[in-house]
């Protein structure tokens, strides 16, 4: 607190550094670094446990030990693991993620294309689920235990119990096999046709988005009802004569949005996991598909890069969650905990 008041007399830069939210951002960014490092080390270690290396995989089963040895030398696989990790890290920091052992392409280049597909898929699922969940939860919480509320809770608990791959297959069965409305496979790149691209992503993003919609609706509805019943500020607002919708929207929803943000942030890594399966089912050329192919061909450079990208996205999502707290809640306790 003293730093904040003292900051008033200093320059803009000093004031910025003294600001609690900037310090919060700085702290969280600093914490994200060791976590990302840890993730990359863990991946490297786990991948090293996989029996059979890329040299064997490339040369096939009937390669002689000499051939394998020569290939290992060529690929640099003969060096000890910690050294190889440091090599990789040095490259990664400068944006060079190495070359794919199988295709020989630059990993960073491959990642870029794939990341765009996965990103689009996640974004579509995300927007649709939130845009649907918020109004449904508000309507449900407006009159708890009435028909609409019960119906929405039934749908969301049911939807949460459906595995996403089952949902994906059922969607394919209904919308691609029974009524040929949407394609089951066949991704159309955005550069080719915007409409075709969206059309080809409808089923995959629904398979990811519907369970998320259910999760958000159930959470938000529960939290809103909790806020509306027995919170002092709600009673005060009602006593002042504030209309029920206004209390719900401006008072309760504002408070419930924190919980929702937490759930959304925590859920993001589950969501990323879901894309791996969904991309596999719908044959989408995304990051998950690339990683799965790379795992099967022991293309370590690619697997390593994919996992680290997944982890960095998850860490950034958590960071963003924390920052949104600070923006939304002026009471946030900086630095404590």
């Amino acid at each position: 607190m003293t730093a904040v008041t003292a900051g008033r007399h200093r320059g803009v830069g000093a004031r910025l550094f003294a600001s609690p939210s900037v310090r919060l951002v700085g702290n969280r960014l600093l914490m994200a670094i060791p976590i990302t490092l840890g993730v990359s080390i863990l991946t490297f270690w786990v991948l090293n446990l996989i029996p059979g290396n890329a040299a064997q995989q490339l040369l096939g089963a009937d390669a002689t030990p000499e051939q394998i040895r020569a290939m290992e030398l060529q690929l640099g696989l003969d060096k000890p693991a910690p050294l190889r990790y440091l090599d990789w890290l040095g490259g990664a920091v400068t944006g060079d993620l190495g070359r794919s052992l199988v295709s020989g392409q630059s990993v960073a280049g491959q990642l870029g294309e794939r990341l765009a597909v996965t990103g689009e898929l996640v974004a579509m699922a995300f927007v649709v689920s939130l845009v649907l969940a918020v109004p449904v939860a508000l309507l449900a919480a407006y009159r708890p235990n009435r028909l609409f509320d019960r119906l929405s809770m039934f749908v969301s608990v049911t939807g949460l119990s459906v595995a996403n791959y089952v949902l994906a297959l059922v969607l394919v069965l209904v919308f691609a096999v029974r009524f040929a409305v949407f394609p089951a496979i066949g991704f159309v790149p955005l550069s080719e046709s915007v409409g075709g691209n969206l059309h080809s992503l409808v089923l995959p993003s629904a398979a990811i988005g519907i369970p998320m919609f259910c999760l958000y609706t159930r959470f938000l509805r529960g939290d809103l009802v909790d806020q509306m019943q027995g919170q002092d500020y709600v009673v005060t607002a009602q006593a002042k004569g504030v209309g029920p919708w206004r209390v719900l929207l401006r008072h309760a929803f504002r408070n419930s949005s924190f919980g929702l943000i937490t759930v959304v942030g925590l859920n993001l890594s589950t969501l990323i996991g879901a894309t791996v399966i969904i991309e596999q089912i719908f044959a989408l050329p995304g990051l998950g598909q690339l990683m799965l192919q790379a795992i099967n061909t022991r293309d370590m450079a690619v697997v390593q890069a994919c996992v680290v990208v997944f982890a960095v996205v998850a860490v950034l999502a958590n960071l963003l969650t924390d920052l949104l707290y600070a923006v939304l809640d002026p009471r946030i306790r900086y630095g404590s905990r």
Partner: protein, 291 residues
């Protein structure tokens, strides 16, 4: 003076009835899913012992692809001539064993680690929690895939791989619950009495964090059953020909448009089981007012 006459008082009646009705439904919230789960588990584990259920593997190729309701094969057979109902029952054994073991593993290792970490605090807490943060930062399915791939597909390895992501989640819940207990008066009292750390953990902390961990475990059961299926789907779960609900669904995917029932039967039972676990978790959460 009829105007003054008060109407019969249904209000008071309703007030008296309301809590009773609520308790009654609340009891149902636990009883229904428990009954469902008992039914599923009983069918999977007991039915093959008591009833003449055909073997789930090594079926006769001449009986391949029989439709639902064929004599001797209630739900028909798959393209290898194996009885689908039998595969669902035996597959259920696998799915349930995996779910229970993984959650017990998570509860034992993660729960202890989290409670210790929260109780001891200080540097140990920081180190443990940072390490777990690394695990949590991993998208769980991605990590599980990597672990499953490096260990090779088998029942034990599936359990280990899934345990890898179950432990940090349990640890987090357990630590948070322990931290909130630390400020409670009875904890201060225990400290003042000179109670040893071990006893505090076992007798004071463990019973108090049990509701949270149990609730989480119930929801976790559903999650594990689903993820086991996902692993099978990606070819890294229980290896064929042994059945699990997940690998049945993934094998059925190949002929989805021709024989959708191959996917739909195991999907249905998977859904019912996961739903029962989720409902049970929800009811326990409300009953114990766990957040």
């Amino acid at each position: 003076m009829a105007v003054v006459e008060a109407p019969p008082v249904p209000v008071a009646d309703a007030d008296e009835d309301a809590p009773r009705a609520r308790t009654w439904t609340r009891g149902l919230g636990v009883a229904v899913p428990v009954a469902l789960l008992a039914l599923v588990a009983g069918a999977c584990f007991l039915a093959p012992l008591v009833l003449p259920v055909p073997s789930p593997t090594g079926g006769n190729i001449l009986e391949a692809g029989l439709p639902t309701g064929s004599p001797g094969h209630l739900l028909g057979t798959d393209p290898n001539g194996n009885d689908i109902l039998s595969r669902i029952l035996y597959g259920g054994q696998t799915s349930l064993i995996v779910a229970v073991t993984v959650n017990l593993l998570g509860l034992a290792v993660g729960g202890t680690l989290g409670a210790l970490s929260g109780y001891v605090g200080g540097a140990a807490d920081t180190v443990i929690m940072r390490l777990l943060d690394v695990l949590i930062a991993f998208p769980s399915l991605v990590l599980t895939l990597a672990v499953a791939q490096s260990l090779g597909p088998s029942l034990t390895n599936t359990i280990l791989a899934l345990g890898f992501f179950s432990v940090p989640a349990f640890a987090r819940i357990s630590r948070a619950a322990t931290l909130s207990l630390r400020e409670q008066p009875f904890m201060a009292a225990a400290r003042l009495c000179g109670t040893k750390g071990r006893r505090v953990l076992l007798r004071h902390i463990a019973p108090n964090i049990a509701p949270q961990l149990t609730t989480f475990g119930m929801l976790g059961m559903g999650v594990v059953i689903v993820i086991e299926g996902a692993l099978s789907f990606l070819g890294l779960g229980i290896p064929a020909p042994a059945p699990s609900w997940g690998n049945m669904i993934s094998q059925g995917q190949a002929s989805l448009s021709a024989t959708p029932m191959l996917v739909l039967w195991p999907s249905l039972i998977l859904f019912v089981t996961v739903l029962a676990f989720n409902l049970l978790g929800e009811s326990l959460r409300t009953r114990w007012s766990v957040r």
